[in-house]
């Protein structure tokens, strides 16, 4: 991006300033990394609730009679099969099978109306996703419109999230009936809101999409309703440790153009059996090379965190690298995801090179943390 290109900004930027947030540049957006203690923010989401500004995420609206068929062609999942107000996690693959982005697709039309989808992509992949979808729509009676900067997105996550979102005065069907990975249309102070039971923390929670100009009012209503529930404002640092504990991959860490879905445990996301051709299909069918690295979960003892990029060794021999790691705030011990040679994926002799010290690591199952049902 050139220096004089306009920088996008969250509609909540000045609200974060008032709240004393520490901001970082994230894909050109100034976003809160923490408001105070990121450990306290993490704990609030596990025990009560946290409020996140995710307005940097990219919203791409896909509509038209062929919208479903187009997304079946452009994405790895069978998007045409999802019902109105259902959400689906999917992948945007390159022709060679590498991952351009991971995203969530919401179907947002009433039954009987023309199909319409909201495709939510990572902020860092906004342009890559938009470019790919815009190129792939050729030949379909459908359109792709980037609504990122007209859309605010806030997430309320945690065991008491439903009580808080239920108390802000939304006009909608009762939230109690809203299942995981479903959404419903609502109205807040006269503005349309898409209320989705989705998230990236491993807790129950909601993501609310609203017009950018109405986002501040929604945010303040959530803060007010959250006071009696111990709601914490949360930054991207807590979001990262929460998603890591929940075993959720992050684009740029676990996912990239260099890995095929099967390498990172996302083979199930690719609909090889239920739909015809789509971009990346041939490469996914051919599969990754026999020696292509695979994603493993690692745990360790002590307090030293394996961090992204640190080498992983098997009996002293380098076999891969850490993609994400942290001292788990909830579990109290180090956790990590790593891409390693397949022959080492079950090894009991793995170590992580933590700045010259070999930290013994045990292969574990994802997720590291699972909330009680």
């Amino acid at each position: 991006m050139t220096a004089d290109a306009p920088q996008p900004a969250s509609p909540l930027l000045h609200v974060h300033g008032e709240a004393g947030a520490q901001l970082i540049d994230f894909a050109g957006w100034q976003m809160p990394v923490r408001y105070g203690s990121d450990l306290a923010e993490h704990q609030a989401v596990r025990e009560r609730a946290g409020l996140f500004d995710l307005s940097h995420m990219a919203e791409l609206r896909v509509s038209g009679p062929d919208a479903g068929a187009f997304l079946d062609h452009a994405l790895a999942g069978r998007i045409s099969a999802i019902e109105p107000w259902q959400a689906k996690y999917s992948l945007l693959l390159a022709e060679h099978g590498g991952i351009v982005d991971d995203l969530i697709v919401y179907r947002v039309d009433e039954s009987g109306a023309a199909p319409e989808y909201l495709v939510v992509a990572n902020a860092s992949n906004r342009h890559a996703a938009l470019d790919a979808l815009s190129a792939r729509v050729a030949g379909f009676d459908a359109s792709v419109v980037d609504e990122t900067e007209q859309t605010g997105l806030v997430a309320v996550q945690g065991p008491v999230a439903a009580a808080i979102v239920g108390a802000i005065g939304l006009e909608s069907e009762p939230l109690e009936g809203l299942r995981y990975y479903r959404a419903l249309p609502a109205v807040f102070e006269g503005e349309d809101v898409l209320v989705a039971r989705t998230g990236y923390t491993g807790e129950d929670g909601f993501e609310l999409y609203i017009a950018a100009h109405a986002t501040e009012s929604l945010w303040r209503a959530i803060v007010l309703a959250g006071e009696e529930h111990g709601l914490a404002l949360c930054g991207l640092a807590a979001r990262d440790t929460l998603r890591l504990e929940a075993g959720m991959p992050l684009y740029g860490n676990e996912l990239s153009l260099d890995v095929l879905p099967a390498q990172v445990g996302l083979g199930r996301v690719v609909a090889l059996k239920t739909k015809g051709d789509f971009v990346g299909r041939a490469a996914v069918e051919a599969g990754p090379a026999d020696d292509a690295p695979v994603l493993v979960a690692l745990t360790a003892e002590g307090r030293r965190a394996p961090r992204a990029g640190y080498p992983v060794l098997d009996d002293g021999r380098p076999v891969g690298r850490v993609t994400s790691g942290a001292l788990s705030p909830t579990l109290g011990h180090p956790i990590a995801m790593a891409l390693v040679e397949p022959a080492s994926a079950g090894s009991d002799a793995l170590t992580v090179d933590v700045r010259g010290t070999q930290l013994p690591a045990t292969v574990a199952q994802l997720p590291f943390y699972k909330r009680e049902a």
Binding site: D38, A237, R307
Partner: protein, 119 residues
């Protein structure tokens, strides 16, 4: 108590007699975020100027304790090793990290120069 001086590596240093107390600055702890682990050197360890003799790990990153001149460690703060959050709550006080005896004169910044650096 002597005047507090600073380094460009975001440490504060107070020299009393021939012993210097070193910690990381409030600015540094704020940039690191919640400190979850502190790795300090052993007493008696000698070091060269510019050497990293300890690590301060937060949830998001790792900071190094870099000494501005050669010397030897004479005391470490066991309390902060047991409770690393002291680095956040009292970076320039109870969250001190090591006491050292320099064998050469360190070049340090005064408060005004350090504030300018972090402005």
């Amino acid at each position: 108590m002597s005047e507090t001086k600073y380094t460009a590596d975001h440490e504060w240093i107070r020299i009393e007699g021939d012993v210097a107390t070193i910690g990381i600055t409030d600015y540094a702890q704020s940039a690191l975020g919640d400190v979850v682990f502190v790795d300090l050197p052993g007493v008696g360890r000698s070091f060269a100027a510019g050497e990293a003799i300890g690590e301060i790990e937060s949830t998001k990153s790792v900071g190094e304790l870099i000494v501005p001149a050669a010397g030897e460690v004479v005391e470490v703060n066991d309390e902060v090793a047991g409770d690393p959050t002291l680095v956040n709550s009292a970076a320039e006080g109870a969250g001190w990290l090591v006491k050292v005896r320099f064998t050469e004169e360190p070049e340090l910044l005064d408060e005004a120069a350090y504030r300018e650096l972090t402005a």
